[in-house]
């Protein structure tokens, strides 16, 4: 885990790496090691399509994790994302079943998540209730709405949806990605730009660093804090639509416990849970690490799916310990 590749340190001696880059680099190194293990153990693993499949299978999670990164950067947490993903997929499926045209469905689906996020953000900020408990209520609410819409899963047969699901974009050799992957990439790029180069992004880091200082500096704390929960809701909504592309259905119990995987991915990606430090790029690596673990366990065949959870737990522990050791946590 301590090995770093030459390209990552770009010619500098290792002790000159800025401390805040260490977690991301560790994640990158871990990913490379895992991939190397996979390639050395299983012949088919070196196929490029394996990597593409990791993206295809985790595209929706990547989008949700990007939204969660914003929230965690401010020092908050959003437990509602898994349920919002499921609710969005349910709403899409039921509206399409009712014969609502696809573009309208997309707009409605994209509005629900941000609205819920906005409300939660407002409650968190104005009534000073812990994010944990407010988003927990949001999670209950969204999950309850799912079953209220339908108790069983609804198939999607709309041509726009099936096209989006089956469209293969690839090279002549037959390797391909789905449209979802491209959407996920677009979200990642936009999010990385917003965080690094816009006022909103700087404010997000500032609030995570120290909310009181941010307030004293005259930064719009209220606006930013509500904005990050709205962004997280929007990302969850996009994730829900991608999930409905992926499964071509809406099921009330889909994506249960997803919020935990997403938080794990963000943490493994090096974002500090107390806020103020982390990168969208790290989150991408974190999601990939989870995806590759899944793939490795699938390739192995003799290991059972519960090993995934145990390994994710172990990695979570290792990375939190790392964060603690390099001492970039606030007191």
């Amino acid at each position: 885990m301590t090995t770093t590749t030459p390209s990552q340190i770009s010619g500098r001696p290792w002790w000159r790496i800025p401390q805040r880059h260490v977690p991301v680099l560790a994640t990158g190194a871990l990913l490379l090691v895992m991939y190397a293990v996979g390639v050395s153990q299983y012949r088919a693993f070196s196929n490029v399509q394996v990597i593409f499949n990791v993206f295809i299978d985790n595209g929706f999670m990547l989008v949700v994790a990007v939204g969660m990164t914003f929230v965690i950067l401010t020092g908050g947490i959003d437990l509602s994302v898994g349920s919002v993903v499921a609710m969005t997929a349910m709403v899409c499926a039921s509206l399409l079943q009712a014969g609502v045209p696809a573009p309208l469905v997309l707009v409605i689906a994209l509005l629900i998540g941000p609205t819920l996020g906005f409300l939660m953000g407002a409650v968190i900020h104005f009534f000073e209730i812990q994010p944990f408990i407010v988003t927990l209520a949001g999670m209950f609410f969204a999950r309850g709405m799912c079953t209220l819409i339908s108790k069983s899963s609804i198939p999607i047969t709309d041509p726009f949806w099936t096209d989006a699901a089956q469209q293969r974009i690839g090279d002549p050799k037959g390797n391909f990605v789905s449209i979802s992957v491209l959407i996920a990439f677009a979200v990642v790029v936009v999010a990385a730009y917003v965080l690094a180069y816009t006022r909103l992004g700087r404010n997000t880091y500032a609030i995570g660093g120290n909310p009181q200082s941010a307030l004293l500096m005259g930064l719009p704390v209220a606006k930013t804090r509500i904005a990050v929960y709205t962004i997280s809701g929007l990302c969850a909504a996009i994730g829900g639509i991608l999930l409905s592309f992926y499964t071509l259905s809406g099921a009330p119990l889909i994506a249960v416990g997803m919020e935990l995987d997403v938080i794990a991915a963000v943490v493994i990606g090096g974002t500090v849970l107390t806020g103020g430090s982390g990168y969208v790029f790290g989150t991408v690596l974190g999601v990939l690490v989870l995806g590759v673990i899944q793939t490795l366990i699938t390739f192995d065949g003799s290991l059972n799916s519960w090993w995934t959870k145990i390994v994710i737990g172990g990695l979570l522990f290792a990375f939190i310990l790392l964060q603690r050791l390099i001492g970039i946590r606030k007191k």
């Binding site: 947490i77 409650v123 104005f126 009534f127 000073e128 209730i129 812990q130 944990f132 408990i133 407010v134 927990l136 209520a137 949001g138 999670m139 209950f140 609410f141 999950r143 309850g144 709405m145 799912c146 079953t147 209220l148 108790k151 009330p252 119990l253 935990l260 995987d261 938080i263 794990a264 943490v267 849970l273 107390t274 059972n304 799916s305 519960w306 090993w307 995934t308 959870k309 145990i310 994710i312 737990g313 172990g314 979570l316 522990f317 939190i320 310990l321 603690r324």
Partner: protein, 356 residues
């Protein structure tokens, strides 16, 4: 102000006033909907009825919520209790299923010791992460919440272990003095925790650690040790709850046992007036909160609403309770006056929501 108004203000300002109102409103709504709700009848020397059922089913939640109360009182949170329930239940059932005579009391006792023992070790792990390494409680216990489910499934090998052991089953559905045994177990644990925290200085120490761990340490309290201890206690409570949950159905399911119970427990604690910020706790409030949640769940079942939809009602309850308790919200509702007039304005909501 007249004395009556002052008294009313004191009454409605009491932390447990609104939870009690909500509970009574639920019971009344149930009785109107189903007149037989309050009836308790004697059959084969056992008491039966909806109220007894609610008590019996709320026993695991009460246990988990008691442990959670202490954890939250120190300013922490324990997300791993659900996984802990699954693990201890799985270990106990696995051991019993390997016994030649599943009805042997000795074997069952050993299985219980094993289950509690493993849970205590895992609790110590949580405690060490929080108290020794200094990781935020949410994240420290998140590790076991995720990995613990995997562990539980590892123990059961992904199967549902079914057992046929009367002594073990008794923990969940047995009777003692006409009442379900699980009620007595929950009551005993409650009494024990109440005695230890309220008759000794421990409760005060816990509250002081929750108020300010560093200041408590400077005042001579071993904050770290207290926090460590609290997570172990929470794990122990979760283990007993895990036995009840698995004994109820005589089988251990690594995936489903104790699912969502951590959220219900946190909810119960918050409804009971314990602040999530730590520093004070109310065991009585927690028990009331657990009963309220179980009554709500039973009501939803009884009214033929899908179990998942009950989450919707819980969401509404959580948000209302949290708003009522939030100082910022109270200040907004009644900027000038003290508690008195503030509460009734908010109070109408739970009454309306509850029978819905």
């Amino acid at each position: 102000m007249s004395t009556w108004t002052v008294r009313r203000a004191a009454l409605t300002g009491h932390a447990l006033f609104w939870p009690i109102v909500a509970l009574v409103a639920l019971v009344v709504a149930n009785t109107i909907y189903r007149p037989g709700f309050l009836a308790v009848e004697m059959k084969d020397g056992h008491l039966y009825g909806s109220l007894v059922d609610i008590l019996r089913l709320s026993a695991p939640l009460i246990l988990v919520a008691l442990g959670m109360t202490l954890v939250i009182a120190t300013g922490g949170i324990d997300l791993s209790v659900g996984s802990m329930c699954a693990i201890s239940g799985a270990v106990a059932c696995l051991y019993i299923s390997k016994q030649p005579d599943q009805n042997a009391v000795g074997g069952v006792l050993v299985s219980l010791v094993l289950g509690v023992g493993l849970a205590l070790v895992l609790g110590a792990w949580n405690g060490a992460l929080v108290a020794v390494i200094g990781i935020q409680p949410i994240i420290a216990t998140l590790i076991l919440m995720v990995a613990g489910r995997g562990l539980a499934q590892l123990i059961t090998e992904g199967q549902i272990i079914t057992i046929n052991s009367d002594p073990y089953k008794a923990i969940g559905v047995g009777h003692l003095l006409t009442l379900p045994l699980s009620i007595f177990i929950a009551a005993a644990v409650t009494l024990l925790i109440m005695l230890v925290t309220r008759r000794t200085a421990l409760g005060l120490i816990i509250e002081s650690v929750g108020g300010n761990a560093e200041a408590s340490r400077l005042a001579g309290i071993r904050s770290g040790r207290i926090m460590f201890l609290i997570y172990v206690i929470s794990a122990g409570c979760a283990a007993i709850a895990g036995f009840m949950i698995t004994a109820n159905v005589s089988s251990a399911d690594g995936n489903a046992a104790g699912q969502w119970i951590e959220l219900d427990a946190i909810l119960a604690v918050v409804i009971g007036g314990t602040s999530l910020a730590g520093g004070r706790f109310s065991l009585g409030g927690t028990i009331l909160g657990a009963l309220l949640i179980q009554t709500l769940t039973t009501t939803v079942y009884a009214m033929n609403i899908s179990p998942q939809t009950s989450l919707l009602f819980k969401a509404i309850v959580v948000i209302i309770v949290c708003l009522i308790q939030a100082p910022a919200f109270r200040a907004r509702i009644a900027p000038r006056r003290p508690a008195g007039p503030a509460a009734p304005a908010v109070a109408d909501q739970p009454k309306e929501q509850v029978p819905a």
